[in-house]
């Protein structure tokens, strides 16, 4: 089932003519015949959940927006996609930019935002040009600017580049950065829906969330909510990377099982090079890693499906999260300790340094993991790591502290003997840097030959 990527392979879909010919901007036409409240109601009905990671219902978020008289409101599109393993927004913006622009126009109208911002990651330098061209095309064809479709509604979209900080993907840090300040997360409350950009009510949404508003308007919220399972409605983009045969972007309707998603030819096509599945991070680097047995089946022995509820089944003890959809697959040759160290280095580098547990704890965790990885670790280091992550988690201003703590916690929880093996066999662990293979999935043994 494809909604967002329906026309992704049409030639020239990046440009206005092809996009319009393939049903583009129908949602805007429809939206301007409705009232803003009706659009919000439609999004609420659709059950759309934020695609940036937390999975908060978008309709709810929109209805929290304060609407004081005489104060402008803003919509900000969070295109600061920096989570390791996640690159779905990049695909959307690079190949179908008009889908995002269309979603932004509809959402701006629904929320009453006359100045809408796309805060894009600085490293996506060339995509800025693509977006700006799309905005110009939309403007030339009367979809943006003053008095859109004679409705009396004005809207401008501005693209703002970030300067290469992961933390600016956190909504309040993004707002600070957009205001021209240092991108430190703000302390909540007040929430952005009350006081956001320039202390005005602001909604910050992910690229994919805003793009999904287009099919919702086109098909109606009711019909959209029928796609998917339970509270996981609609379609979700997944960016698959790691040791699979066919990495890339997939759009799923969240009814597939994890097993089907990894091994069927329609999606990832199985593990590359005839290896076995060892572990997987199902939703971007911040969510807990799962070993093969817990990934394919929940702790209760039920099949795990690719949706918000099923992936988080069992909490953090035996489950994970849908997150932002960065699906990272490990084969039997990958070393979980090395991988955890790499992630710890990333979070150490990206911590904003505002609150002490995250600023000092991430660096400390990285140094310990580096010791273990390079054969200088002690047994007590593993318990120490566990204690540090416990003291970071939940004690910080923004979720970056949690995001730094969860991968370490999950790696120790599920792969503790691999850490111990590194400590006990320092020389061997450096010679063959791939940890223990016995976690690998015993069912999906590749055919010999």
């Amino acid at each position: 089932m494809k909604l967002l990527l329906e026309h992704a392979h049409v030639e020239g879909i990046r440009y206005y003519d092809a996009y319009r010919k393939n049903g583009g901007y129908r949602a805007v036409e429809k939206a301007f015949k409705m009232t803003p409240d009706e659009i919000v109601e439609e999004v609420k009905k659709s059950g759309l959940r934020g695609r940036g990671g937390a999975g908060f219902p978008t309709g709810m978020k929109w209805s929290f927006l304060a609407k004081p008289e005489g104060i402008p409101r803003h919509l900000v599109c969070n295109a600061d996609e920096s989570e390791p393993g996640t690159f779905k927004d990049r695909y959307l913006m690079e190949f179908i930019p008009h889908l995002l622009i269309e979603g932004l126009i509809v959402s701006s109208f629904a929320l009453g935002s006359n100045a809408t911002y796309i805060y894009i990651r600085g490293e996506y330098a060339w995509i800025v040009d693509i977006l700006e061209q799309a905005i110009t095309e939309a403007k030339n064809n009367g979809w943006l600017g003053k008095n859109i479709l004679n409705s009396g509604f004005d809207c401008e979209i501005y693209v703002q580049r970030g300067a290469g900080a992961y933390i600016c993907g956190e909504e309040t840090a993004l707002i600070e950065s957009l205001e021209g300040k240092r991108g430190n997360p703000r302390i909540k409350p007040p929430f952005p829906a009350i006081q956001g950009l320039w202390m005005r009510p602001t909604v910050v949404n992910n690229v994919e969330t805003l793009a999904a508003v287009v099919p919702i308007l086109n098909m109606g919220g009711e019909a959209y909510s029928k796609i998917g399972v339970g509270r996981s409605t609609g379609t979700k983009l997944l960016s698959v990377c790691g040791n699979v045969k066919k990495p890339g972007i997939y759009e799923i309707d969240m009814t597939q099982s994890v097993e089907e998603f990894i091994f069927s030819d329609e999606y990832c096509g199985g593990i590359a090079n005839g290896k076995k599945l060892k572990a997987c991070i199902p939703g971007g680097s911040s969510v807990p890693i799962l070993p093969a047995n817990l990934l394919l089946k929940t702790a209760k022995g039920e099949t795990r499906y690719m949706n918000y509820e099923s992936l988080s089944d069992g909490g953090f003890a035996t489950g994970s999260m849908m997150g932002s959809g960065g699906f990272i697959v490990f084969d039997e040759d990958q070393c979980v300790v090395r991988h955890t160290m790499t992630l710890a280095r990333f979070y150490n580098h990206e911590s904003c340094g505002q609150c002490s547990p995250c600023r000092e704890g991430t660096g400390w965790m990285y140094k310990i993991l580096k010791n273990i990885e390079y054969g200088k670790g002690k047994m007590s280091d593993i318990d120490l790591l566990w204690d540090i992550q416990r003291k970071i988690e939940g004690n910080t201003i923004c979720p970056l502290g949690d995001a730094a703590a969860w991968p370490v916690a999950a790696a120790i929880r599920h792969f503790r003997d691999e850490f111990e093996w590194h400590v006990l066999n320092p020389e061997e662990s450096q010679k063959r840097n791939f940890g223990l293979a016995h976690y690998a999935d015993p069912i999906h043994v590749p055919a010999v030959g």
Partner: protein
Amino acid sequence: MSEQPKFKVTIDNITIEVPAGTTILNAARMIGGDVTPPAMCYYSKLEGSGGKCRTCLVEVSKGSEKDPRPMPKLVASCRTTVMDGMEVKNITSDKVLDARKGVVEMLLINHPLDCPVCDQAGECHLQDLSYEHGASGTRYEFDRRTFEKEDIGEYIQLHMTRCILCYRCVFTADQLTNKREHGILERGDHAEISTLLGKSLDNEFIGNVIDVCPVGALTDKTFRFKNRVWFTKPVDAHRDCPTCSGKVRLWMRGDEVFRVTARKDKWGEVEEWICNDCRFHKKEVKDWVIEGPSRIDRHSVISQGHYVDTVKQPVYIDRVIGKNPKLLLDIHKVSDVNRPDVDLSKIEGPAHSDDFKKNKDN
């Protein structure tokens, strides 16, 4: 104007009525004593400060009368406002004490612990914090981050290695001047305080960043290595200053003025900002009208010794745990030393066992 509504809040079983909009920390400060969470970054005089150091984390076990659900995470008490009927656990919560111990450990892993040569020693909030809430040792086995010492302005030295990044000086510099010249470079554990392109700050009130610094990262160059804090006596004094209020605290030894700082309240916060002229240039007794000895707050090692007007913190242990703690042995029944009715601060010179003899008072 209608009267501001009062909210009832219970902190560690002690109930107090505070005006709506008060933060938990300020409500706890109204009670005082042990139930007040420590605060390294919050500064009531600086707008926007707080929430960063995480030492003031508390557990909200009951949200309010209307919505009695507890808050899921520990909250920063300096930035969370009270609700009517809120119940807060500070020292009665193991979770809080554990988290706070963790925060103190984190704050200390990159701190040089060079107290013996640090000018702040003796009135350092980090010393107090680690003494009161920290562990006895560290589990950190790596090199600590270090920086070169840097002069910001003629009279202030920045020793970034000691900094705990509380952002107080950033807020001070930002709120006392119009220009954004003083801020943070880099991020994470390699973040550092710096001035715009290494420029020196020449604002007339910039010396106040020394007073707001909870550690020895910003020090007064006219006082560096001149004397230890506990050898000097604080005296309140004032002068007719054209720029500031002129109300200062002199740190004297004999007739010599070693240091001039702003007056601080019992939470270690500056009462009124003073100008650079008062702070750095008026170092003669004749410049000042002496008012008398200062009341010393708990954030000074002097309060441990023999000094008149030491501010004693109230003790609430009976109200916190609901009864008087049962003593296995009251030391005062078997020993006369340190009898509670003898005020140590009233004793001239070092205490001697003779000072506690019962017949000596009569």
